[in-house]
C-alpha cells in the first residue's frame, strides 16, 4: 500500500489495540465484554495486514504463538467454570471474596472495577480466544491469497 496508508496505520494502530483492551477489561461495568473487545482488537490486526502485507505481519505473529494463546484462553474459561463445582457448574464463587468481590449498592451507581466475581476473568479468557482465533483466520486467508497471486 502507499506511503500515506502506511504512515496513518503506524499512528493509529496503538490507539485501536488499546481501545480493544479497554472494552474487554470494563465488560462488567459498561457495554462490551470479551467478544466485542476481541473483535475490535482483531480489526486493528486487519488494518496491519492490509497496510503492510501478510508476509511482514507473519514474522511477528507466528502460528504456534496464536495457537498457545487461543488454547490458554479456552482452558482458563473451562477452569473457571469447574472451579465452583461445589455448588453448581458455572457458579460465581468469587462474590464476597477478596478477589473481585465487592457488591455494588442497588440502583444507579458510579461503577467499580473490583466487582462481579468471575465475570472479569471470564471476559479476559474469552477475549484471548477471540483475538487469537480471528487473527489466525485472517492471517491464513491473506497468506493463501498472496501466495496464489505470486504463482500466476
Amino acid at each position: 500500500m502507499s506511503k500515506i496508508v502506511r504512515a496513518v496505520a503506524r499512528l493509529i494502530t496503538p490507539a485501536i489495540l488499546l481501545f480493544g483492551l479497554y472494552v474487554i477489561m470494563h465488560g462488567h461495568i459498561t457495554p462490551g465484554g470479551g467478544f466485542q473487545g476481541g473483535a475490535v482488537f482483531a480489526s486493528g490486526v486487519a488494518l496491519l495486514i492490509v497496510a503492510f502485507g501478510a508476509g511482514r505481519v507473519e514474522q511477528f505473529l507466528k502460528e504456534h504463538q496464536l495457537s498457545v494463546l487461543e488454547s490458554g484462553g479456552g482452558l482458563l474459561f473451562i477452569g473457571l467454570a469447574f472451579a465452583g463445582l461445589a455448588t453448581a457448574f458455572f457458579y460465581n464463587f468469587l462474590v464476597g471474596s477478596p478477589i473481585f468481590g465487592h457488591v455494588p449498592a442497588f440502583g444507579s451507581t458510579q461503577g467499580d472495577i473490583w466487582t462481579a466475581g468471575t465475570i472479569p476473568l471470564m471476559n479476559v479468557a474469552v477475549g484471548m480466544k477471540v483475538i487469537a482465533g480471528l487473527s489466525a483466520i485472517m492471517l491464513a486467508m491473506a497468506l493463501a491469497a498472496s501466495k496464489s497471486g505470486e504463482d500466476e
Binding site: T30, P31, G107
Partner: protein, 117 residues
C-alpha cells in the same frame, strides 16, 4: 392501518428475509450466494433484538442509568451468540470458495460442479 405503523421493525425483518431468499436462489456466482446467507443471518439477529424492546426503556446497565424502566437483557445475550456463530460460518464458507477456485479455476456455481481427481 395502525398495525403497519407500530410493527415497522417486524416488517423490515420480513422484507430482508425475502431479499435474502431471492439473492440465494437467483445468483450464480458463489460469493454472491454467500452474501445472501449473510443478509439472512442479519435479518434474524434484528428480529431477536426487536423482540425484547420495551416502550420508553433504556439499556439494561446500572452504571449512571438515566431511568428505571429497562429493556429485556436476555434476547441481547442470545443475539451475541448468534453473531459469533455467523462469523464462524461465513469464514468457513469463504475459505471453501477459495479452495474451489484454486482447484477448478471457476467461481460459477454451475461450471464448477465436476470434481476432478
Amino acid at each position: 392501518m395502525n398495525e403497519f405503523l407500530t410493527n415497522i421493525p417486524f416488517l423490515a425483518v420480513a422484507a430482508l428475509i425475502c431479499v435474502a431468499v431471492y439473492v440465494m436462489m437467483s445468483q450464480r456466482n458463489l460469493i454472491k450466494i454467500v452474501m445472501g446467507v449473510v443478509i439472512l443471518e442479519s435479518a434474524v439477529n434484528l428480529f431477536l433484538v426487536a423482540l425484547g424492546y420495551r416502550e420508553g426503556g433504556v439499556a439494561p446497565i446500572f452504571t449512571n442509568a438515566p431511568g428505571t424502566l429497562m429493556v429485556l437483557p436476555v434476547p441481547q445475550a442470545l443475539t451475541l451468540t448468534s453473531i459469533v456463530i455467523g462469523v464462524a460460518t461465513t469464514a468457513l464458507m469463504l475459505s471453501l470458495i477459495m479452495l474451489i477456485y484454486r482447484h477448478t479455476g471457476e467461481t460459477d456455481a454451475e461450471k464448477s460442479r465436476r470434481v476432478k481427481g
